[in-house]
Every structure is written in C-alpha cells, then in structure tokens.
Homo-oligomer: 248 residues x 6
C-alpha cells in the first residue's frame, strides 16, 4: 500500500489495524561516473515498496533529498543541511502522530543520513512530549539501512570482495540497474580508486575522491545481481519491520 | 532527462548547454473520499517529466510533501510548516547554484504551496547574495501551477463547469487516473458539497469541508480526461519554460 | 480606536463586544524619485484608522517594515526577511489570542508582503493549535490589500490608465500627498520607465528598474486624488471588515 | 528628517554627509489604568523626531512592538519574543549597512527592551563580519533610554519623588499627554501600589502588580510636565547623538 | 553539593527540601597578556562551589563558554552567539523545571553575558508557559555578578583604585591566582592601557584595546588578594541566594 | 595544556606549532543509583587532560551538558536538544577556526552525543565554507569515544563480562571513582536489570529502565579499575590524536 495511492478514508481504515508506516529516505548525490544521482532514493523506494507489499504496510512517499553536503562539490548533488532535515523529519512525524501513527520505520539508502536521522528522532520525541500529543510516549522511530542487512552484506562480499567499496558500490548500482534497466550507464573508470579516507567537507571530499567513488568498482554490477540484492533486502527488512511493529 | 537517472558527469555536460532545472513540487494531503493523497505530487511529477522530455530539460526529483497544514485534520496528510519548506527550498537552490544552475522552474500541483514558495524565493535571493555565490544576482525562480494553465482551466470549465470546485477537483483526479489507472477509487460522495468557504486552521477546515472536497465532484473524472489535461499542461508549460529560459 | 491610545482596561472592555483587530502593515522601501520611502506604511495606517473609526474597530500600531528585500539595492529601504516577518506575525497573533482576540484583519499597503503574510497565517494556525490556546481553532487572519480594492482599482484606471504602473504608482503617491501635503516631492522623471519585468533579487531589480518605478508616472498624482482613493478604500474595507467579523 | 517622508534619492544625498540614523523603539504594553498602551512608542517617537530636527539626523520609522512578554497577562499587550526582536534588529541593521549607514542610535522608551537590544547588537556585529559587508568593523549601535537621561530623572524626582515608580510612571504618562492631549485618561487608582518586586513571567507579574503600575502615581502627570520632559530629553539626547556621531 | 558528584536519587531527595540551583556561568576569552582565558569560568565556578557549601545548595556544572563575540579577534577566545546561548539557557531551564526545580541562581563571571542572560530569562518564562509545565508561573531566574558584589567592589577600589579597570582586572586575576596558584603568568604589560572606550565588534575591540586589557593593571594581583575576594563574594552571594530562595 | 589556564599570547604561540585542539564533551545525566550525574563529563575531561599532557595538546574546557533527552525523566539530568548542541558546536568551531585551529578532536564520554556531533560536523563544514573562512576546506572534526577504545573494551569484558552493560557501566563508574574517590556512592541495586531494550523518548526510557541502569552492575567498579581504564584510554587516544594531527 502506498500512501500516495490511497485515500484518506483508506488511511483511516488502515489505522484501525496498524499504526506503522514505512518511510523511504534516500539522497540526491553523485555516485561516481556510472552511478545514478538518485541511487540512494531509488534503492530505498524500491525496497520499501517491496516491504510494504510483503508486510501489508503503508509506505510513505520517498524523501528524495537527504544529507549529502559532502558530495556537493559534484554537480547534480542536492543536499539538505542536517538542521533542515531534522525539521523535515519533525514535521513528518508530528503530522502523522496527530493522525494516529506511532511506529515509523525509515528504510534508508544513504549512510550520510544516519547521524542526522538519529538526532532528529531524539528531537522528535521531545517535541511530541512538548506538544502533549496523545501517545507521544509510545512513538518509536527506527532507521533500517538496507545496505547493512546481513544478507545483503554477505552477498556483496561474495560477489565483489573488496571492490564493493563504500560509495557508488556495485551492490547499490546493481539494484538501480534492476529497477531502471534502461538507465544503465557506461563511462571509463580509472582502475585505481582511493578508499578508506575520512569524510570532512565537500571540497576536501572531491580532493580525496576525484571521480566520486570510494573504493568501489561499480563495473561489476549487473541487473541480475540487483534482483538478488532486492530480494534479500526486502525479505530481511520485512522481517525486521514486523518485529518492530510487534515490539512493545 | 531526470536528474535521478543521470550521472554527475552527465549533469556537468548538461550545464554546458543549459542552466535550467524543472522541479516538481506537490503535496501529501487528503483529496476527498476518492482522490489520492499523492494527487498533487503525482500530477506535478508527471507533467514535469513531460515538460522535461519536450524541452530537453533536466527534471529534479519531486518534492512530495509541501505546505498542507490546513489538511492535517484528515489522516494521511503530511505537511511541512511554511518555515520548514522555506529552508528546504533554500537548501535545494543553494546546492544547485553552487553547481552552476541559475533558472529554477517549479511545476507546482498544490495551491497551498504558492505563498510559501514565493516567500522562499525572496529569502533565497538574499541568501545567495549573502553567500557571495557566483551568479547570485542572475538566479531566477519561477512557480508554474499546472492547474492554472489557461488551456487546462478552459477544458475543466467545459467538462465540469462549476463542479470543478477548488480541491479534489475532477481535473486533478482525472490526471491521476491517467497516470495510475490501477488506483482509481470509488466511494460514496454526498451530492452536496460546501464551496467558497475561506481557509484557516486544520480543525476549522474539516468543520467546513467534512469530506475534504471543496465544491468539487470528482466522480466526473475519467482517465481520458486526464490524458487531455496532461497533454495541455505539458504543452503550455513547455512553452512557458522555454520562454523563462530565454528571458534575460 | 487606536490600540496605542487605549488603556488595557479599555481593551478589556472592547473585547466584551468584539474580538476583531485591524492591523496596518506597510513597508519601508524606495518608491521612485518622488515617492516617499514610507508610502506603503503611510497608506495602510491612514486607511486603517479610517476603517477603525467607521467600523468602531480597534487599530493596532502599524507594522512599518515589511518584506522588501527586492528593493534593498536602493538606499533607505529596510526589509525583514520573510522568515523574520513570519516570526513577527506569529508573536503578534499569539500575544493577542491569549488576550481574547480571534479576528485579525491586516490592511496591507505592499504587494511584497502578501506571500509572506499568507505563509505566516498558516504557520500561526498551527502554532496556536500546538499551544493549546483557547479558541485556537476559531482564529482567523485575513489580508486586505487596499490598492486592490475594486473601487480603488477602477479610479486608478480612470485617472491614470496604463501610467498607473505597479510600483511607485500615482494612486499610492496621491494618497501620501493627501496624508502628508507638506511632503510632496519634485524630481525629474525619465519619460520612459520599464514595466512588466519579473521580480527576482535586489541587484537584478535595480538593473531592470533603475529609478525604482515600475511602469508608473507618479507625476500625475495630486492630493485631491489621494482623498478620493482614501475615501474609496476606507469605505470598501470597512464593509469587508464588517463582513469578516460577522462570518462564522 | 523622517526616513518615511524622504525619497531614496534624498537618503542617498544624506549619506554623503552623515552615516547616522536615529531609530525610535517602544513597546505595545499595558501602562496601568490610565497609561496608554502605546506610551513607550509614543515617547520614543516624539523625542526621536525632536532629536532628528535638532541634529539634522534622519529618523527611522518607530519599532512599535518590543519585548514586553512580562506584560502579556494584560489585554492589549503585544510582544515580540527576545529571539524575534533580535532578528528584527539584525534585519534592520544589515539592510541599512548595505546602503552605507554605520551609526545606529536607538532611542528607547522601554526598559524591557534593553537586554534584548544589547544582545542583538552583539549578534549584529558578528553577522556583519560574517557577511563581509563593507565597513562591517566600523558599525556602531547605541541604545539611549530617554527616561534615564539625567535631566529627565532629576525633574521626575523633583516633581514626583518616590511616586515616580518604575512603570506607568507619571513622567512617561505626562509626555504622552503632551503629545496626545486628546487621549488623557481618567480611571480610579488604588492609593496603594506595590513596588520593588522583581520581574519574572507574565502571570507572576500580574499577581504582583494587579493593575499594572509599579510603584507609580500617574495621576500626578500633566501635559505641561510632559513638555518639560520632552524638552529635556530632546536636548540631552541630541547632544549625546552628536557626540556618538563624532566618536571614532 | 555538586550536581555532577550526585546521583539522581540524591537529587530527588534534595528536591524534597529545596527547589533552588546555583548555576555558574563564565566565559572562554582573552584576559590580557597575563590573565587566564578561563578567568570568568574559574571565578564563577569557585565562588559557586563556595556558595553551594555555605548554603547547602546544589551547584550545576559550569557553563564554560558564554557570550564573548567581542573578544574573538584574540586567539583562544570561544564564544556562543547570543541566540545560541539563549537556547542553551532555555534547554537547561526546561530540563530542570520538569524535574521540579524552580529557582535558578546564575553566578556570573562575565559582563558580556548579562544582556543575553536577561533576554534568555524572558524567553524562558514564555517557553515554560507555552509548554504548560507545572509551576511554570513560579519559576524564577536570577543573575548575580560576583564582581559587582558591593564588598568585592569596595575591596577592589581600596587595593587598586583606578587600576582595577574593567577587563582583565586585578581582582579577577587575583581570584584565579588563589584558585590556580600554579598557573600564575608573567608577561610584559605596557604601562599605558586604554580605558573607557565603548564596545562594538571584535575587530574594533582589538583596535581599541590592543593587548586585551581595558584600563586594568593585573600586575597588582596576588593570590592573597584572591582569597579575600573569594571570601567576600561567597559570603555576599550566599546571603543573596538564601534571600532569593525565601522570596515568594 | 589547558586552554582555560593559558593566556591568549600562549595560544598564539601554540598555534605556530599546532592547529589541533582536544575538546572534552560529556553529559549531565542520571547514571543509575550509584553513578554520578557528571560521569560522562568527568571521564571525558580527565582523559582529555591526560591526552593533552601526553600529546602536548591544548585542551578546551569541557562541554558539560550534551544530548541526554532520553534521560530527562530522571531528576538531575540536563540536556540540550540536538538542534541546540549543533549550534553550540558550530559556534565553538567557527570561533576557533577564525583563530587558526583546524583539527578538532572531541573526546566523548556519552553515546547519546555521537549522532548529534556527527550531524554538527557536517553542518560546520558547510558553515565554514559559507563564511569563506581561511582554511575552511582543511578543517577536520573527529569524535573519539573513550569507552569504545579497543583496550578499554577488552578490559571491561575481562573484568565485568556481560555485567558491563551499556549505561551506568562499571567501567565508567570506576573511572569516576578514580578521579573523585571521595564521591563513591552506595545504594541498593536490584540484581535484575533490564538490558537490550531500544531507546526512544524519556518517559519510555524510564519505563524500560526503572533505576536508570542498562544491563550494568556498577557495584563491580573500583577506583583501581578506574585507574586502569584511565591509563588505557589516555594511551590509546593519545596515539589516535597524534595520528589525526599528522593526517593530511
């Protein structure tokens, strides 16, 4: 069930049986010479819809732009500042808690979002208490990073070993190839790619990682791999979502 | 061209020939008993992609959640506060101006966004000047509301007369039926629907408009109408976008 | 009745019979070579006091500085950023709702304020709900632009035709001449004045409109015209205010 | 010279000879049973215009609403929060520094504004430095409280002794009587009025000072006294303004 | 009793007998060639702990960094902006009011903090009312500047006369020498030191006060003096704290 | 070297040889029936000073209050909201970068600070770029959690096994016992203590963890253990700091 394809009366009925919501969150940022700028949003959205179907869960529209300030020295990147993203999360959650939702399961496609999301959750719990909203003290937010699912991680190691890297990885590229087979890109990739460097500001990032990749070889990706990653992530996150729902 | 399906190197190349960007902005809000909660985002996104193809323009990911505070007494609505949406627009625009974009054409599907967008544009111009960004004084933001295209408005009057109303209108519902024919909804609609009431807070809104419609009869919508609206809006907005680009 | 010339006990008594308040809002911005920098505030204040007398309404002190960022490349302009003006409106409204006011009628003299005011109203309704203030869901804010009164508009067309323009107009200059006959200014006005250009940032604005006028010929203004505009605006807005008060 | 009665070209000419500006700041707050709600703004504005004439200084429009949160339990009070007032001051100052002003002389009518103004000044200096504005490091803001002029204080002691009190004082009431002789109010005043209590929140304030006066007997005020206070304040502040201008 | 050396159960017990808290607030800023950067925090902390012992009062951890923007042209200074410090105070106070504290006694070591603290207190009272916290209208904040104790001031005059100055004063330097005898510094001090200049921005401050001192001769300080100042301040502030607690 | 015990001229000299700074950050929060409220600040401060001595590094004053919103249902806890803490970090870093510091090594004692710190770092890099500060693109912030040092973790496992838990742990309690042997607390500890529960809002936290401990048995702590932890942490973090400094 997608929130955007539902009516308010359907949502009202849904809330009778569940107070859970899946919220995909991605990013709009460079993913190396062959990775799509929407990679993180595309992956999060596809997997969220899979989880939504498997778990009979409502799925919110995707948060397409996240915290990607360190990628902004590459054209095409769009980023919220952490402080802005925190306000966005606050507004989503308060809108939805007013309606009766209490369990927010963010399926995340971008490592750069995690710290801000966690800070936002803390801020939200306080805001909800301050607003004296009904059930404020029962609200739970959880971030699930699909790329850190143990099954996904294991497959990526098997398929790519240390060529998986940590940004513009073949696993995420593969997943976008599965979702958008018409948008598979080709571009020359230098065989040597830096890895393991720390991440600071945007200029510094591009100096360290000139083509945007972090230790990865996305040329290894195939749409078939993408389907495997998709299936594994949907399965593992469906299970985790259901457990989250059932948890007190 | 969709930004999300491009690589940063493709964006770099695009910027050599154009500094324009189409940004769809919608809302996540009740649209009466049969309208989809994502109506405004769905319409803005579909038309934006049509314009993008017709005008060879890059299209940003859709801003799915806008300013819909007055709809938040209906479950399923998600809204940013105006102050939050202004920060979001600011962050989008500053990220993109750094990369070289200067012409931002927002295709908007929701009347409730307009005031906040205009306020945000004013704030942005000042921020860009404060940041001393190159070309700050050449940046232009424009909001184009597809539902106010003269051709669209004319067709809606012909097809629906005063049953078009002003929210959950048959024209926008038709467009979503064209885009998502599998998500056409049926629900009883009271024949009498209030119209012409002013809009204040959320509780007040629901008191005035109990099922969410404002003077509309969305039962008149058909997917075929939707295609007509789509074609008209794409044509008119493509032309307006090209004129916007060429304007000094 | 002017709030500033009342005591708190008089306000307490007033609230027994009315919960309405007229709030004049103007701007402090260039108005061409002969228009006063205070034009928008002067007009809004004078008309508001006229409405206050005619409608037995309390009139707040004038918000003298509004949203005029696009005029800041001309010396003498003072502007709030939209985000600041929104906070100002929020603070006014929350202070006054605590005391029992629920109907806020802003008489506005500056087009550049409108979007921000409307965004501010939306934000206010939510803030009031969040604060759990008594009658929060009955609070209504309305912006009435005196220069858009149909009677005013008609007279301006009759007197000035297309020399009315859209900034530093003879109608608003005339009104200030009526209010401050000792401050009528003379300065050379180039016969050709640009018009119809869009409005973006401050530098861009001055490039497009070098002397500050937008398509207007303020040399046509006379204090006698000013009185006519004043009378028409007071009459029309008094009527609109009373209707606003009586509306549920 | 009043900024509101000037044109931008007159301001441009003024800046050739002076970079100083007088800014009146008052408050909109209860002043006991007989004091006007606008007392602090009225006094600040009248004195500022007197100083403007005497010193050939430009006078900005009055900031009518200040920091009066502790008075908000009395109807008619309107207050900005300190954080909002700081943003207002910031926006005024940055607008004006861009135009070339560097010396800001705030003539203040309300003790409750002082701390916030001083905090705002500190914030402003940093903002100006951050914006790299020309002359940022030469900008000076000064707050001059008319009621603390030594000549004013001395006269108040002579005329009223300890019946001057500290809020809704006969001296400030007298000054408003001089400016608005038609708005002199009569109301019963309890002979006993608390004084010397500390100031915390709004509810607490009203509990301590039930009719709004703080140790004062405004029944002693006369318009003639008002003229005396006016003359003394204008003289003393003109001198202080000129010294401020000449100071490096 | 120091909050940091207590358990939450001890605090719970303390709240049964007292709702008061001593909060030391200092600054991290240059104090001339021989004054410690931590001078203001060191003095506030030492005196607070003395008061805590004498008055059986709980003492919060020290706010080490205050509002010192005007000192930031000297290396080693760290400053919050006034707007940030206000949020810090707000967060402290709301956290503590939720637990039952109502009397906040800030022992302050830095003149630059005073305006911001007072503005923050006003903002806090409103926030507490907005949050509907229990006892919100009984909360009282007080700032006590140790260097303005009459006994301290008197001794400083006796010991140093006009060589006390107003920043990097021998009295505060003496107190830090008493607390940290191992950190007594020697450096050449120019015999002539400017004094009486106003304070604006950071660059301007350093231009006026090149070595950071304002009219002071800290070479007169001794640890023995420091002990005297410490004893006087603790005694006077203990008495003032107890009076504050007992006040309705 | 402690910043608070230095003069500005010493800092100026230090900056000639190093641009690094150690910043201890803790929290003010409940640590179970026997743990000190200041535990996290005490540990971070002590270890930072040890690192400062070993590495000849300057050590900033301790950030005593961090992000502990989830502990605020226990009296004595003081917390900044994440958004406030981010502003504090921003103000620290911008003050210090202006003076020439570029390498910020936060030694952290509280898990709840980590997400907010990381979000704050991202925001800072952008702010520094926006301010066009010299070396903005060379600034690096790093958070080092002493309790996650591998040597510390290993010892905790050896000494306490699964009784280490994750809050109010014997290892951190031991370290405070070593630093403040006079503040060792005794209180009955229920043998059963919940562990492994997720963390959401404050009320929820206390419901899950009634005495504040998370799976820990702090009764196992001794001052001798504390010394061991201290030595290990200082050694490991000194080494990490030096590597951080030397890293490009």
């Amino acid at each position: 069930m997608r929130l955007h394809l539902s009516t308010w009366q359907e949502v009202e009925a849904y809330l009778q049986r569940s107070q859970g919501l899946v919220i995909p969150i991605g990013s709009t940022e460079q993913h190396g010479p062959t990775g799509l700028i929407g990679t993180d949003a595309i992956c999060a959205e596809a997997i969220s819809q899979g989880v939504g179907e498997a778990a009979q869960a409502l799925v919110a529209p995707t948060i397409n732009v996240g915290m990607a300030l360190h990628h902004t020295a590459f054209p095409g990147t769009v980023s919220l500042r952490p402080s802005t993203l925190m306000l966005v999360i606050r507004d989503y959650v308060t809108s939805l808690v007013r309606a009766g939702f209490t369990k927010f399961f963010f399926i995340n496609g971008h490592g750069g979002n995690v710290a801000t999301l966690k800070a936002a959750f803390s801020e939200c719990y306080q805001v909800l208490a301050d607003l004296n909203l009904l059930n404020a003290d029962r609200v739970q937010c959880h971030v699930a990073n699909w790329y850190m699912c143990s099954s996904v991680y294991k497959l990526a190691q098997e398929l790519y070993g240390n060529q998986e890297g940590s940004h513009a990885t073949p696993s995420e590229v593969a997943l976008t190839q599965y979702v958008y087979p018409d948008a598979i890109k080709q571009a020359p990739l230098s065989p040597e790619v830096p890895s393991g460097e720390p991440i600071y500001g945007a200029i510094d990032f591009r100096r360290r990682y000139p083509d945007g990749r972090m230790g990865s070889n996305p040329a290894l990706a195939t749409p078939e791999h993408g389907k495997q990653f998709y299936d594994l992530a949907v399965k593992e996150l469906t299970s985790r979502y259901l457990e989250f729902l059932s948890r007190e």
